[in-house]
């Protein structure tokens, strides 16, 4: 188990960046850049092991209780 101090939060892990050079609507772009659900409960988040191996990981965490349910490597997909 590693200390939380070594990690840095990186936002919602379920957001997918639109592909480069793809023509997309303002709405799609705004959804990607700005629009986030402020969920209470289980939430897939990105964290980077900043003061460690520097890997970005996906963490399923309860935003209310901080309980951690699941973690995935950067290249693993969230299956729901």
């Amino acid at each position: 188990m590693r200390s939380q101090n070594e990690f840095s939060y990186g936002g919602d892990a379920t957001v997918k960046r639109p592909e480069l050079n793809k023509d997309i609507s303002d709405q799609e772009w705004n959804d990607f850049v700005y629009n986030r659900k402020s969920l209470r409960g289980k939430h897939w988040e990105l964290w980077q092991h900043l003061s460690g191996c520097r890997q970005w990981i996906k963490v399923e965490r309860d935003t209310a209780t901080h309980e951690i349910f699941n973690t995935l490597k950067a290249n693993e997909d969230i299956s729901q």
Partner: protein, 998 residues
């Protein structure tokens, strides 16, 4: 003064060691083992402070952590500390304490006038009264409230004490060393578990120290001492007194504060004052006990009214009588224990029992001892101002609503017992949903959320036999699960007095025609009438009632007030208590000093200090340093009596006329390798990167996805698949994370590796018209001519035997180069540059001169790239590719970002060419316009132009493109300055950029 309330031969104090101390300037004596509270009571002192709101006299209410009144300002070894509970502070020789919350003195307190004006200070009085008129807030109300309502004075001096943090792991953490804590520690330890046992007080044993029980043919106290002695010898057990487990956090992590030196006159050498423990426990046993709750009656805040259990503790632990004519007011059997202790010591108490005819062993004992007991009697009101002098008492009807005739009896203290409230704070902090237990009229822990188990009185179990049994068994089971051992210890025989049920009575009705204040929250002065008003005004949720009335919001967090408050709300609302619910328990359980929380991370220990390899040289050459992130950078090199302004001007001027050298080691450096490195750069930077030849550098700007500039810097192609990126000092770490984010999560198909090399390279920027001549001398075998090393060129060279990288890049706007060598050779490089540079009048320059040079050249930096500007704002739109896609490009089409009058960086010169312009000032059209004066822009950076010898600033200005030549005003309300200025191009010096290319 004699300790006239001290008993002979009773108590656990050390009578061989007399201790002198001062309270409010007067000298007293106590004994080693006293608390400040017990020593004051021994001396007959009961007036200790004034209440928060009405400034009513305050005495002692409890004997420990639950104390709502006795808060003092403590003076110890030249330091002072506020918010100290006299009931917790152990006495040491030379202790000095004063009252808080009273002005000018505790005996004559001017704020007490509030007591007579109380009709004007009802619930929510801050919200209502002091809101109007608005201008009165700052000038009249606020200072008055501050003066009148303080809980002490924080020291303004640097705290010289040392505080430490400790990280610990264990199988079982046991919070509280009463009967259940000792039993479970013993059982778990004997079963091989790693145990930490924490006790908040100085003495282990909890209620065993004061109760009249027998365990295994020993008194409770002797049994406790035996267990502690055995635990102390066990290698798998850590026992800590003066240690409060105050917070239960996620993943079974608990935090405990250990007061190591607070009980000593002075912290021993190399010892910390306090230590904060972060403990990860596999299992947590909460044996925090219970706190007696008061019964509410008129003037129940008068000094001398206190908890019956506290009176018993003062007597049995400290040998102190809280009074010589005690009145015991109880609704349960506990009050009898206190009465019997008084009687045994030659004091005749009177018991008022709200119950009609209780039948139990202890009631019979009291009768047998000849104690005067009045059944179905209540205290209607305490009489006396600074101390209880008598009590109005009356018979109460069976339905508890009608009072009989009021009688007045003399007494000097009223010991109250309204039954017991389990200490459920830690369980609740863990996430345990508490449940209401009808039998004890209080909340107890429900289903465990984390690995926590609550035992004994904290779980609402009030018999010793059951407490010990459940503790032994639980600890055995839990430790067995962890250690796989199965050593069971034999259960001792327990003798205790069986008690009968308590009376659910908690509040004495007001007699006809009387309007006594009946307090619920003693620290925040919240009375029954305040809650009634709040409910009348429509407050329903207990969380709202709490905040509006401040019930339970004081530093004692309502340890003695919460349940009675809930009882009242539920009674008025005609609900049951569990339907009202309790407010949230949050850590810390009791106040923790800021010092303990901060630990060793103070001053220079708060973050690492990074120094360049040339740091010693800078130091030896009178550099004055400035913090640049975690780095220390030379701000200027002082010669003689120069100040910052003079030195930086001299250094900048020398760069413009001769040559200067600046330590640029702190710039972020990222090594980028891989066949797709060019593609990554092309996606990260706004300009095109695919055609950059080997041996060339390029300036680039990178954006966030929202179109805002994130960072800028140059990247050099070292070889086919190898690039060297530089970032600003401040953004180095963020840029690396940013690249890693895209490489790992967004474009994992790119075959690229990135790694920080900031610390691997030492850098020196050599700038000025003579820099090429100097460089030629440093690298005689390299062709550094205009053609051999053109602007944005790169080559590798040999610096007197040391391998070096040479970049022709410029931040100062002059002909300039940057030389990098491996860090270990940094100082060698620097000394060589200085040595060889003497012939060219070289001078080192610091960050201040560096700023001057870049500002007058109009080069944007951190103060313009401030997280609010896009490339256009910084006149960097020429670097934005129209052809390719990159991070953040889509955002640049946003309406606000393409507006015709979009802000843009401009230059600002004062009309008088003399007045310096403060950074952060606003630009306005009309300095006399009525407020709020429309703001057109702000000054981002200011300098004294060495080229033109007048002040010059950069500003981000609305419609900056069309403002060149216009006259505006700079306003700085902070510095009370209005300066007429002219807007000019941001490229104030060498606008065509001829020098860098020369």
């Amino acid at each position: 003064m004699t300790q006239s309330f001290r008993l002979e031969n009773v108590g656990l104090i050390n009578r061989n060691k007399k201790i002198s101390f001062k309270f409010n300037g007067k000298k007293y004596y106590g004994y080693e083992g006293d608390t400040l509270a017990s020593a004051l009571i021994a001396n007959g002192v009961h007036l200790i402070g004034r209440s928060f709101k009405y400034h009513r006299p305050r005495g002692f209410f409890g004997a420990g952590v639950d104390e709502p009144y006795a808060i003092v300002q403590l003076y110890r070894n030249g330091e002072t500390e506020p918010n100290i509970k006299a009931t917790e502070q152990e006495l040491f020789d030379g202790l000095v304490a004063t009252s808080v919350n009273c002005w000018p003195s505790v005996k004559f307190d001017i704020g007490a006038i509030n007591n007579f004006l109380k009709i004007f200070l009802p619930a929510g009085f801050y919200y209502k009264t002091f809101m109007w008129p608005k201008s009165f807030w700052y000038k009249v109300y606020e200072p008055f409230i501050r003066k009148a309502a303080g809980l002490g004075v924080a020291s303004i001096k640097h705290d010289k004490e040392r505080y430490e943090h400790k990280y610990e792991y264990c199988d079982l953490l046991i919070a509280g060393s009463g009967p259940s804590g000792l039993a479970s520690a013993y059982a778990a330890a004997k079963n091989g578990a790693r145990v930490i046992l924490a006790e908040e007080k100085s003495r282990f044993g909890g209620t065993l120290l004061t109760s009249d029980v027998n365990i295994g043919n020993k008194s409770g106290k002797e049994w406790a001492e035996g267990i502690i002695a055995e635990l102390t010898e066990m290698p798998n057990v850590t026992i800590k007194n003066r240690s409060q487990v105050f917070g239960y956090y996620d993943h079974n992590m608990l935090v405990m504060s250990e007061r190591i030196s607070d009980h000593l006159p002075k912290t021993k050498k190399f010892h910390p004052k306090q230590r904060l423990w972060y403990i990860r426990a596999k299992e947590v046993l909460i044996s925090a006990g219970s706190i007696e709750r008061p019964i509410v009656f008129g003037n129940n805040d008068t000094p001398g009214v206190m908890l019956s259990s506290a009176a018993k503790e003062y007597l049995k632990v400290y040998g102190v009588l809280v009074g010589k004519k005690p009145l015991i007011f109880t609704n349960n059997d506990s009050g009898y224990e206190t009465a019997i202790e008084f009687k045994k010591n030659g004091i005749d108490p009177i018991i008022l029992d709200t119950r009609e005819n209780p039948q139990s062993e202890i009631v019979d004992d009291a009768k047998e001892l000849g104690i005067n007991i009045k059944f179905s009697y209540v205290v209607v009101a305490a009489q006396g101002y600074k101390k209880v002098k008598s009590a109005d008492i009356a018979k109460i009807s069976v339905n508890k609503e009608e009072l009989g005739e009021i009688e007045n009896i003399k007494c000097d203290c009223i010991c109250v017992s309204g039954f017991w409230t389990p200490t459920i704070h830690l369980a609740s902090q863990s996430g345990n949903k508490t449940k209401f237990n009808e039998n004890i009229d209080a909340f107890v822990p429900g289903k465990s959320k984390q690995n926590e188990t609550t035992l004994g009185a904290a779980n609402g179990v009030y018999t010793l036999d059951e407490t010990l049994k459940s503790s032994f068994e639980t600890a055995h089971e839990l430790s067995k699960k962890i250690t796989n051992n199965d050593n069971k210890i034999s259960f001792p025989n327990v003798i205790e007095k069986k008690s009968t049920t308590h009376d659910k009575f908690w509040c004495v009705p007001l007699p006809k025609g009387k309007n006594y204040k009946r307090f619920l929250d003693f620290q925040n002065d919240v009375a029954v009438s305040d809650i009634e008003i709040a409910l009348k005004e429509g407050y329903r949720s207990i969380e709202h009632v709490k905040r509006y009335t401040t019930l339970g919001m004081a530093t004692d967090q309502g340890k003695t007030s919460n349940l009675n408050g809930l009882q009242l709300v539920s009674k008025i609302e005609n609900k049951v208590v569990p339907a009202v619910g309790h407010t949230t328990f949050r850590p810390p359980y009791s106040p923790v000093s800021i010092g303990a929380i901060v630990g060793r991370e103070v001053g220079k220990h708060s973050k690492p200090t990074r120094k360049s390899p040339m740091h010693n040289w800078h130091e030896q050459n009178n550099a004055v340093f400035v913090d640049a992130g975690v780095w220390l950078r030379p701000r200027y090199y002082k010669i003689g009596d120069e100040n910052l302004f003079e030195a930086s001007k001299r250094e900048a001027k020398n760069v413009r006329t001769n040559v200067g050298v600046c330590d640029v080691t702190t710039l972020g450096k990222i090594d980028i390798k891989g066949p797709d490195a060019g593609e990554l750069l092309n996606r990260v930077y706004t300009n095109a990167w695919l055609k950059l030849p080997v041996g060339k550098a390029r300036y680039g700007v990178m954006l966030r996805e929202d179109g805002i500039v994130m960072d800028d810097g140059t990247t050099t192609r070292i070889s086919e698949n190898h690039y060297h990126m530089t970032t600003t000092t401040a953004q180095a770490a963020n840029v690396l994370s940013h690249l890693e984010y895209y490489l790992q999560l967004v474009w994992p198909e790119l075959n690229v590796n990135v790694v920080s090399t900031t610390e691997q390279w030492a850098g020196a920027a050599i700038a000025g018209p003579k820099s090429r001549d100097l460089l030629q001398k440093l690298f005689p075998s390299c062709d550094v001519s205009k053609e051999g090393l053109p602007f944005m060129g790169y080559m590798e060279g040999d610096l007197f035997g040391v391998k070096a990288r040479i970049f022709r890049i410029s931040f100062s706007g002059e002909l300039a180069y940057e030389v990098n060598v491996e860090s270990d050779n940094g100082n060698f490089m620097w000394e060589k540059i200085i040595e060889v540079g003497q012939a060219f009048k070289i001078q080192p320059y610091g960050t201040e001169a560096l700023s001057t040079l870049r500002i007058e050249m109009g080069h944007v930096a951190g103060s313009e790239l401030d997280g609010r500007t896009i490339p256009y704002d910084n006149s960097l739109e020429g670097l934005v590719s129209k052809k390719k896609d990159f991070i953040g490009k889509r955002s640049l089409t946003k309406e606000a970002f393409t507006a015709e009058d979009r802000q843009k960086v401009v230059g600002v010169v004062p009309l008088d060419k003399k007045t310096s312009i403060p950074e952060g000032s606003h630009l306005v059209k009309d300095s006399n316009a009525p407020l709020p004066n429309p703001k057109l822009g702000f000054i981002s950076a200011s300098c004294w132009s060495v080229e033109y010898d007048n002040p010059f600033s950069l500003a981000i200005l609305k419609d900056g493109k069309n403002m060149i030549g216009k006259k505006l005003f700079v306003m700085s309300p902070l510095k009370n300055k209005v300066i007429p200025v002219e807007i000019v191009s941001s490229h104030y010096v060498d606008p065509k950029g001829e020098r860098v290319r020369s």
